[in-house]
Amino acid sequence: MNVTSAGVGASPPKRVHNSTWKDVAIANGSAVSIALFFIVVCVVFSLVTGSFLTTPNLLNIVRQSAPLLIVAAAMTFVITTGGIDLSVGSVLALTATLSAVLLQAGLPWPLVVLAMLALGAAIGALQGFFIAYERIPAFIVTLAGLSVIRGVALLITGGYSIPVEPTSFFVNIGRAWFLGVPVPALLALVVLIVAYLAFNQTPFGRYVTGIGANTEAVRRAGVDTRFMTLFVYVLSGMAAAVAGIILAARLGSGSSNSGQGFELDVIAAVVLGGTSLFGGRGTIIGTVLGALTVAVIGNGLILAHMSPFLTPIVTGTIILVAIWLNFRLFKGATRSR
């Protein structure tokens, strides 16, 4: 069935060239530009402060940024479907306080961890139901979630922070070291590897990208797009629960005020990494670099004895500049339509 010899695309003189490193750089423009930013920020802080580029400090950065990395990985899925989850900071606060409360009530720690994961999944499923099946915009559903879930955390604790017994094994989740690396960083590494594989190598990751690009096309291809959409919110809810557990374990207490503005840091990290807020384009590698950039800026400014209040200013500026560079420098990677 040789249908045509006329062909549909390229004509005999070669129109498609073997991709050079430059083409590869442009095709992965967002990841390259955030990688450059990350390197520049690291070099600057290494030169300005003597203590930045030391093993203890670098391990401290990954330990502190573990919650951010874990939730940002899940948020990459959410944003790639064209959605958003504003409730992650509140879920973090609720799970941090509830785990402290349950430990105080005498529940064994593995049970507490499982209960918190289930709670995060349930919250994500509920929000996902309204988003995927009832077609309410994700921004509105999770904005309501942000408010309600934080409210529940405040109600449970009355605004006080609940201490965790320092002798409990639970605190090891946030404080222990394993093979010279902090346990939270190892947890983050595992989550990131799983997220990377799921995003790039599984049908689920493919459908997440497809849903962001053209939901109807994926539905017509016979995929249950509503369940897939619901499921990404289950993932972000569970990731926020993991982050809450790690935070409560590291700080040794659960505070209903923890994670204020956390959702904005997470979204900043994801967007900085090159994932499109319009959906259809996401990268886990970029998200990792974005989250680490946000973390390094915060850490470096403190080491440089600058005012910590500069952190949000610098972070915000870098987000704008990085994305502006993406638009300008690396434009031309795709046909405009």
């Binding site: 069935m1 040789n2 249908v3 045509t4 010899s5 006329a6 062909g7 549909v8 695309g9 390229a10 129109r15 498609v16 594989l197 190598q201 599984t202 049908p203 493919r206 990208t209 497809g210 962001g212 690009a213 053209n214 109807e216 096309a217 994926v218 539905r219 017509r220 291809a221 016979g222 995929v223 249950d224 259809g280 384009r281 795709t334 046909r335 339509r337």
Partner: protein, 266 residues
């Protein structure tokens, strides 16, 4: 009509669909035999696309029955229709721009390999099979890893057609498959329709290019404002008659007259 000896590949009867105040489909029927090529024509808004989407599972009708090979089916999603080997090329192509060529061709039925029970994409098999399919269909795309957003309109349309035709369909529905194509590419699509119908695939072709209908169709069904108005064997009709049926009145269309004048003039 044709003789009623054998079973129909597709038998849709009494299909109705209403969107708010608009009765998009009103008691429409459609019959198709194995290897039949049916041209479905009508003005914009006549209900052609909706009727074909009912058959592909993308739209659920308010009433009516569908039989495939004599068995009553009820499609509640496109997945059901795909399982019954009904494939459709949608007018908007239904491609994911940020997914690569192979990913779009295999969307929803990616080859998988299981590692510890977890399904992973079998990328190498997917790209190899994509290359084979494109070659078999004569579609020239240099790299199956190109994202679809980087392709031309004709290449995109070729992928949409290739996707529907490549997975052994028993019914192939094409909604305006030639809209974005150049002359040679249109010929290729018509040739593809002939080839698959010769293999016994039933084809429904929706197009505004009436001349194409006369090149590949066995029958033409005309719809007007959500109803069937006429059905003709291709040998018993002319472009002029089809035009009149489509617009619903006696209409001396220039496009129809031109071809007749050509015939008359020396």
């Amino acid at each position: 009509m044709m003789s009623d000896g054998e079973t129909y590949r597709v038998r849709m009867t009494g299909i109705s669909k209403r969107y708010g105040p608009i009765q998009t489909l009103d008691d429409v029927s459609l019959n198709l035999k194995p290897g039949d090529v049916l041209g479905l024509v009508g003005d914009n808004g006549a209900g052609k696309s909706t009727l074909s989407k009912v058959l592909s599972g993308a739209v659920i009708p308010d009433s009516g029955t569908i039989e495939i090979d004599g068995k009553a089916v009820s499609f509640s999603s496109p997945a059901d229709a795909r399982a019954a080997r009904v494939e459709m090329v949608y007018q908007d192509l239904s491609l994911c721009d940020t997914v690569d060529v192979a990913g779009n061709l295999f969307l929803g039925r990616e080859p998988r390999r299981h590692v510890l029970g977890v399904p992973f994409l079998d990328n190498r098999r997917m790209h190899d099979q994509t290359r084979e399919m494109l070659d078999r269909l004569g579609i020239v795309i240099a790299d199956t890893r190109l994202k679809v957003e980087n392709l031309s309109g004709g290449q995109r349309q070729s992928i949409a057609i290739g996707r529907a035709a490549s997975f052994d369909p028993s019914v192939l529905i094409m909604d305006e498959p030639t809209a974005a194509l150049a002359v040679a590419e249109v010929e290729a699509v018509l040739e593809l329709i002939r080839a698959v119908s010769a293999r016994g695939v039933s084809v429904i072709l929706i197009t505004h290019r009436l001349q194409d209908l006369f090149l590949v169709c066995d029958r033409i069904q005309v719809m007007y404002e959500g109803r069937n108005v006429a059905e003709r064997n291709i040998g018993d009709t002319s472009i002029e008659e089809v035009v009149n049926l489509i617009v619903g009145r006696k209409f001396t269309a220039r496009s129809a007259r031109a071809s007749r004048d050509e015939g008359i003039q020396p």
